[in-house]
């Protein structure tokens, strides 16, 4: 069943997986090719085709010249917004989640199970239940339509994931390690810093990758709580794909889509193992 000899049935297996692989790759290939074709060329044929004249200018246009809504600065400002939201929120939620996960798993304290249980419920609560309250909270603390507001939201909501990930990782660390350190005279922070953190690289990578991907790709909060120049790139892409008059612009749009998807795609390509680990860890809540 699991031998490598070549038989007709194995040929069939290879044929099927190749077809599937082609189907999964097709959208990416189409968009990459389109991003290198001129708008006019696409308009004359279809979205699917080989570039006749290589239009590398699409990327420059998409990056800094293209008009989204009424501003013509490309998607650069929106990429910057996304970065300014995603990076701090990823760092904050990961660090706070690691400390809290460490406390919940390796230090017992009154109410630890309760608070942990409630926090992980956040994995299930639909965003729609939090949209209105966040609107009001952000308005009251003056963070509506700011990047800081989205950082705050993603930090607090991200805790549900980061605490879960870190806690599940840290419970596997032997309690005796903590006991030994306590007898040695180390306190909460010293144990975290000297003993736990050096062991945490695998889970921190998973958590960072997961948080980064999620926050970068998030759309609903971005489109609800920010407008115009404050929007993250996901929201800008939607605004950008709304057809303006009849001017064809799929070449530039394709370049913009590629640029917007690039950060998370690169992370996936270089950290795929950790990405999948986060995926399965998130599923087996």
């Amino acid at each position: 069943m699991r031998d490598r000899s070549f038989t007709p049935s194995r040929a069939l297996i290879y044929l099927i997986v190749t077809l599937f692989a082609a189907a999964y790759l097709a959208p990416l290939v189409v968009v990459v090719l389109n991003s290198l074709r001129t708008n006019e060329e696409i308009a004359q044929s279809s979205m699917i085709g080989w570039p006749q004249n290589w239009a590398f200018g699409n990327y420059a246009m998409a990056w800094s010249g293209f008009c989204v809504a009424e501003t013509c600065a490309g998607i650069r400002p929106y990429m910057l917004n996304s970065a300014l939201i995603t990076i701090p929120a990823t760092i904050f939620s990961t660090l706070l989640g690691a400390v809290a996960g460490y406390a919940v798993s390796l230090w017992r304290f009154r109410g630890d199970n309760w608070i942990y249980g409630i926090v992980t419920l956040g994995l299930f609560l639909p965003q729609q239940m939090r949209l209105l309250p966040w609107t009001i909270v952000l308005r009251d603390i003056g963070l509506i339509n700011t990047l800081s507001g989205l950082v705050l939201i993603h930090t607090i909501q991200g805790l549900s994931f980061t605490v879960l990930f870190c806690r599940n990782y840290y419970v596997a660390i032997p309690h005796e390690l903590i006991r030994a350190a306590r007898i040695d005279g180390a306190g909460f922070f010293r144990i975290f810093w000297r003993i736990i953190l050096p062991l945490s690289a695998p889970i921190l990578i998973v958590t960072v990758i997961w948080q980064f991907t999620h926050i970068w790709n998030e759309f609903l909060y971005g489109v609800t709580f920010t407008t115009g120049q404050q929007q993250p790139v996901t929201a800008a892409l939607i605004a950008l794909s709304t057809p303006v008059a009849d001017i064809p612009k799929q070449g530039v749009q394709s370049a913009a889509v590629i640029i917007a998807a690039l950060p998370t795609l690169l992370i996936y390509l270089f950290g795929g193992r950790y990405f999948v680990r986060g995926l399965t860890a998130g599923a087996v809540k």
Binding site: I48, V104, L125, R130, N217, F219, L237, L279
Partner: protein, 309 residues
């Protein structure tokens, strides 16, 4: 065996100074956890409360009972959204489950290039739903996508207009969603297949079972807990699907691909019907609970059983 973090809970001479000394660690543990827990609870309660008030443009107090719920449930928008959710949820979950399982079984055959293939099947998960929706909206658009290509190639009778076809548009969302997330099912199934005890497989072979029978009778039955997990996670996605639809069809043509999450957004932020929007959000939560509560009960029973065994 508990590690007692709070030696300061007992009254004593040094209790206060002990408290002060440990203040930073209490802050760093409790503030994030409390913020997270508090926002979950208070936001939920607040939204539920709003759903019973006559709030429109701004939140107001007052009690209208189930009026918001009745009007949401009676609206054509919600009815279509709900029917779509049933169709989309079932079709998407079944198809992505079977696709994922098929891919996992194929990859489990010790084939060459498994790593590359796995990377290919999983990469859509790294991409945002907005990107997925945008790209598929191009491919499925009869004017510029696959249909146009077929026409250009001379196959003029080819018709593939689901994106703009009221009856079929919901299936475009199914297609894009499967493309995006069947890799997730594959990853979990593959992990499950790989964790089957190889002695069991050897035993089946000694018993004379061929590959098909070994899969069907011995290996696949061990996967059903994973299957349940995959179903629940995918359903959870289907119920709250928003970005993908927004980018792919924006609920159209007309309201043919409306889904609950879009109804909520529409009521809250486009029609300024906060009460009804909140009611629709609570309805979404109830649909979700209809999936999650049985799942939680199932897991609880399983854990209890495992603990007793």
């Amino acid at each position: 065996m508990t590690d007692v973090a709070s030696t300061a809970t007992r009254p004593g001479r040094s209790a206060t100074s002990e408290m002060v000394r440990r203040l930073p660690e209490f802050l760093v543990i409790w503030v994030p956890l409390l913020l997270s827990a508090a926002h979950l609870i208070s936001f939920s309660i607040w939204t539920i409360w709003i759903s019973f008030t006559p709030s429109t443009l701004i939140p107001v107090t007052g009690w209208v009972g189930l009026r918001n719920y009745n009007s949401v449930l009676a609206s054509r928008n919600w009815q279509i959204a709900f029917d779509n959710l049933l169709l989309f949820g079932i079709a998407f979950v079944l198809l992505s489950l079977t696709t994922g399982l098929l891919l996992a079984i194929l990859l489990d055959q010790r084939i060459r290039g498994e790593n590359v293939l796995r990377t290919i099947f999983l990469y859509p998960l790294a991409v945002s739903f907005v990107v997925t929706g945008t790209v598929w909206s191009w491919l499925l658009n009869p004017g510029i996508g696959i249909e146009k290509l077929a026409h250009d190639l001379g196959w003029t009778s080819f018709h593939f207009d689901w994106l703009v076809n009221r009856d079929m548009a919901i299936w475009t969302i199914v297609i894009a969603a499967i493309w995006q997330s069947s890799g997730f099912a594959m990853a979990l199934f593959l992990a499950g297949l790989r964790s089957v005890d190889s002695d069991i497989i050897k035993a089946a072979q000694i018993d004379g079972a061929g590959p098909v029978r070994t899969y069907w009778r011995v290996i696949l039955p061990t996967l059903w807990p994973i299957t349940v997990t995959v179903i629940v996670v995918q359903l959870q996605f289907a119920i709250s699907a928003f970005d993908l639809v927004r980018a792919l069809t924006n609920g159209g043509p007309g309201i043919a691909t409306q889904l609950p999450a879009l109804v909520v957004y529409d009521l809250m932020f486009q029609r300024s019907q906060l009460g009804r929007g909140a009611a629709a959000a609570v309805l979404m939560l109830l649909i979700l609970l209809a999936v999650l509560l049985p799942y939680a009960a199932w897991r609880y029973v399983r854990q209890r059983r495992a603990a007793h065994a």
